[in-house]
Symmetry: C2
Subunit: 508 residues, 2 copies
């Protein structure tokens, strides 16, 4: 069948231990050098679309030259890194952090090196068992209720992202509900969130076949600090019931993306329960803070939720990617996502031995051994170490907030719950006051981010108010970076106000 040039049977050297050692040490030094030089890079490159595509060849090489690996690393340094947004920069304050640690990064290296595929227990027994142990370790460290842990009859797993977690939970809830009301009523199902809920949820709802106009985004208000109101939720659910529709699923958020608003989980669960609605809590960012006991209050009432997810890759030193998901009833996941035939076998095995086949818990069958990374992070930093890490960012955020409050030209727009500060420049009356405030702050953000060695921040636009977001959470961020960031904001604000005053005085 194969008509190829004659060669010896095996391919040379592509997984040779000595070659791995040689190239591996190169890569380690490369990454360490990158961390060393991190401060030299502008956080965000000033490049235009096409800058890289236009210079790369249009085809892969046929036969690489000698030291192709060294020359590729050189291209990473010279071509790619200058065009990256450096999420590990101590001056990266945009979005949410992509939390890195030496152990998290090396955990990934170890996972890739060992390269097993633990889709069933048998496909790599130690990997499945470690996952079951570590997901309980993490759940306990985060003060989750026992009902979500294997130890309490629930259970968890490690996925890639929150969107996957929500989709798994939603599909489980959907199939459970359709089994009750009839498989042909998918068009009657309605899902709920707030207007602050991350787009992941609407994406998951669409993927799961929920009608696009059956996703209720309950409006939130500045007065409630943009938290989802149980009263409004109840009204929305009742209206749907009255219209003959079927409330299915609520996605509550602890720490929304725009302003880290905290939905009142306990009260929302009570509303949901009265309508037989599955409650998922998305704590993608803020979940990491639950490692500190002083945050336990934000998950009051969590005993009633059906599923919970958070991303250790966001703020728990676990490097991209890792989302942890826990559910109260793993059997609902398996019923929705399991392989039919093996489902029966698996249950029997689980009854006897208490192990799971994770392929039946998630969207994907192939999966990475993410538990190894989380285990290493917990082993090497310990629960106390993770608390120190979170608290150091909280203190820096508190300090930043204090500086904003101390400058009367600025205001902190929403209450700070975690390590995100949402603030804006007040627009002076003589420059148009509230009418020009959004425009003024857009310009401020642009100029702050344009400063080559300055901070990189992002924005929120909530309830009509445009604000700057300073999310402190990069592992390399120190007090001085926060102080410098604030100085850049002040300087740019002064310059903008000065310019605008001149323009206004000339015009007016």
């Amino acid at each position: 069948m194969v008509d190829a040039p004659q060669q010896k049977l095996q391919c040379p050297n592509v997984l040779d231990a000595e070659e791995f050692r040689r190239q591996g040490h190169q890569v380690i030094d490369f990454i360490a050098d990158y961390y060393d030089r991190m401060s030299d890079y502008p956080v965000h490159p000033s490049v235009t679309p096409g800058f890289l595509r236009d210079v790369l060849p249009t085809d892969a090489p046929r036969r690489p030259g000698p030291d192709a690996f060294g020359s590729a690393l050189q291209d990473v340094r010279d071509l790619l890194l200058p065009g990256m947004t450096h999420w590990q920069s101590p001056r990266h304050f945009a979005h949410f952090p992509a939390s890195s640690s030496t152990v998290g990064a090396l955990g990934e290296a170890l996972i890739a090196g060992i390269n097993v595929v633990p889709f069933t227990w048998a496909a790599s027994p130690a990997a499945t068992e470690l996952e079951m142990v570590v997901v309980d370790w993490l759940g306990k460290a985060l003060h989750l209720p026992e009902s979500l842990l294997f130890a309490g009859g629930g259970g968890g797993t490690f996925l890639g992202t929150t969107c996957e977690a929500i989709l798994c939970a939603l599909v489980s809830a959907r199939d459970q509900k359709l089994a009750e009301i009839g498989g042909n009523r998918i068009g009657d199902l309605v899902v709920y969130c707030s207007d602050q809920t991350h787009f992941s949820f609407r994406k998951a709802a669409r993927i799961a076949g929920i009608q696009r106009d059956h996703c209720r985004e309950v409006q939130t208000y500045h007065g409630d600090m943009f938290a989802l109101s149980p009263t409004e939720l109840q009204a929305a659910m009742q209206a749907d019931v009255d219209a003959g529709l079927v409330p299915l699923f609520l996605c509550a958020t602890v720490g929304t993306t725009q302003t880290t608003a905290v939905d009142p989980v306990g009260e929302l669960c009570a509303v949901a329960a009265s309508h037989g609605v599955w409650v998922h809590v998305d704590a993608a960012y803020a979940g990491s803070a639950l490692v500190c006991p002083e945050f336990r209050h934000v998950i009051d009432g969590m005993e009633s939720v059906d599923s919970f997810s958070m991303n250790p890759h966001k703020w728990l030193l676990a490097n991209n990617d890792c989302c942890a998901m826990w559910v109260k009833k793993p059997c609902a996941l398996v019923a929705a996502l399991g392989t039919e035939q093996e489902y029966i076998l698996k249950d029997a095995a689980a009854e006897g031995h208490g192990v799971v086949d994770y392929k039946d818990w998630t969207i994907t069958l192939t999966r990475r051994f993410r538990a190894l990374k989380i285990w290493l992070v917990l082993r090497c930093y310990g629960v106390d170490g993770l608390r120190d890490h979170i608290r150091s960012h909280l203190r820096m955020a508190e300090a930043f907030e204090g500086m904003v409050r101390a400058d009367a030209r600025f205001e902190v727009v929403t209450e700070r719950h975690f390590a995100l500060v949402c603030f804006r420049l007040r627009s002076p009356e003589k420059l148009g006051g509230e009418k020009t405030a959004n425009q003024l702050n857009r310009r401020l953000l642009e100029e702050v981010n344009a400063a080559t060695s300055g901070p990189y921040m992002s924005s929120a636009n909530v309830g009509g108010i445009y604000m700057l977001r300073c999310a402190i959470g990069s592992t390399l961020t120190e007090e001085r970076h926060v102080n410098d960031a604030w100085k850049v904001v002040q300087d740019r604000a002064s310059a903008i106000l000065r310019k605008m005053e001149i323009i206004y005085s000339v015009l007016g």
Copy 2:
């Protein structure tokens, strides 16, 4: 808000360059030593459920001791590795390979070290642009039609797994169809595959809200080598149309999981086209072989498919995880999976500059910089190197097949297309003949896999025939491992036949 013990603002050392260097070199040596010692491990551990859970502590440590990292690595060596299935073992012939290379593994290390989150172009411009370039490089290397490449108006991306790829394609097709026929007709949609199609597809269909009984698994036959018959597909689609249902989606497979059957893509596309059906081709395993021009014929007619996916992590040296997906009309993906508001912005940007925001192409928003790994693999091994790699496995599979054929006690059950050999022991007439063949081969597989330093194989059960699967594709596999594996199979077969003859002679 935070009432924590007083400490300095930043957390010590968790992303310190020197610490990374020290621990990183340890990890590299650890992995290299693992590769060196790979042959010493039994491929599959003889452990029982609970073996690891029972010995691990029930809680994460509070404050780790000195050299926690070194001691964790020791536990990986002493506790975890002995309980793993060693997918990189040269004697791993089960499932499909989880293809490793030094460059693939180190690519993952580099991705984790740099740790950017390229969900939009702006979130890391070089990452998005590299992905666009490399996905075209790979598509060209695999001889895909231009219609699927960015260069030809299509485009591709790197995901985690095939299930994600199929789900993205299916949701795009579904929403496109519902826009035509009415959003409330999801219950009328029908999807098609063969009884050999991987479970991923049924899983994706369930997730997407297709009714469970609307997934047609067209029966295949030994006479067709278990390929999907266009005639039977046409009959199935016509029956659904006649019943007032709406054919939506066909998942064809190039290289099925059980026996690497190849569905006739071109003819199937013609049938699908007549019903307005989206065609996805899943070449998860065999797609890697397309790098060799001698396999171009298996994708004859590919110009008509709407989407195509394959897993470089299976057989293209790319380490877990990476699935490459290409689509003919990226706009269908964006319409189904994009963020509403930004959708408009994105389109404008794309028109002007030809870049994409990959968050709108996939299920997940957070994503890893997988393109870096594929770029390194293509850069360092080159297209010719990848051909050598694939052909070396093909030659070994050919040799194994020859050995099976040379022993009259055995038979090769299905035609070998790639590097999987499906074979079984014939059951002698005096031992019950065909009636006992499945049982005999089950026992043979058990005994082969029980040999401590023997090969690890898996099984297929197709058309009522149970067979052993010998999938050659581990990077470390050499001719001698294949020869040794065959000797173990022969020895075990001889022993089983001898024992059974004694039993039969005593009984009879």
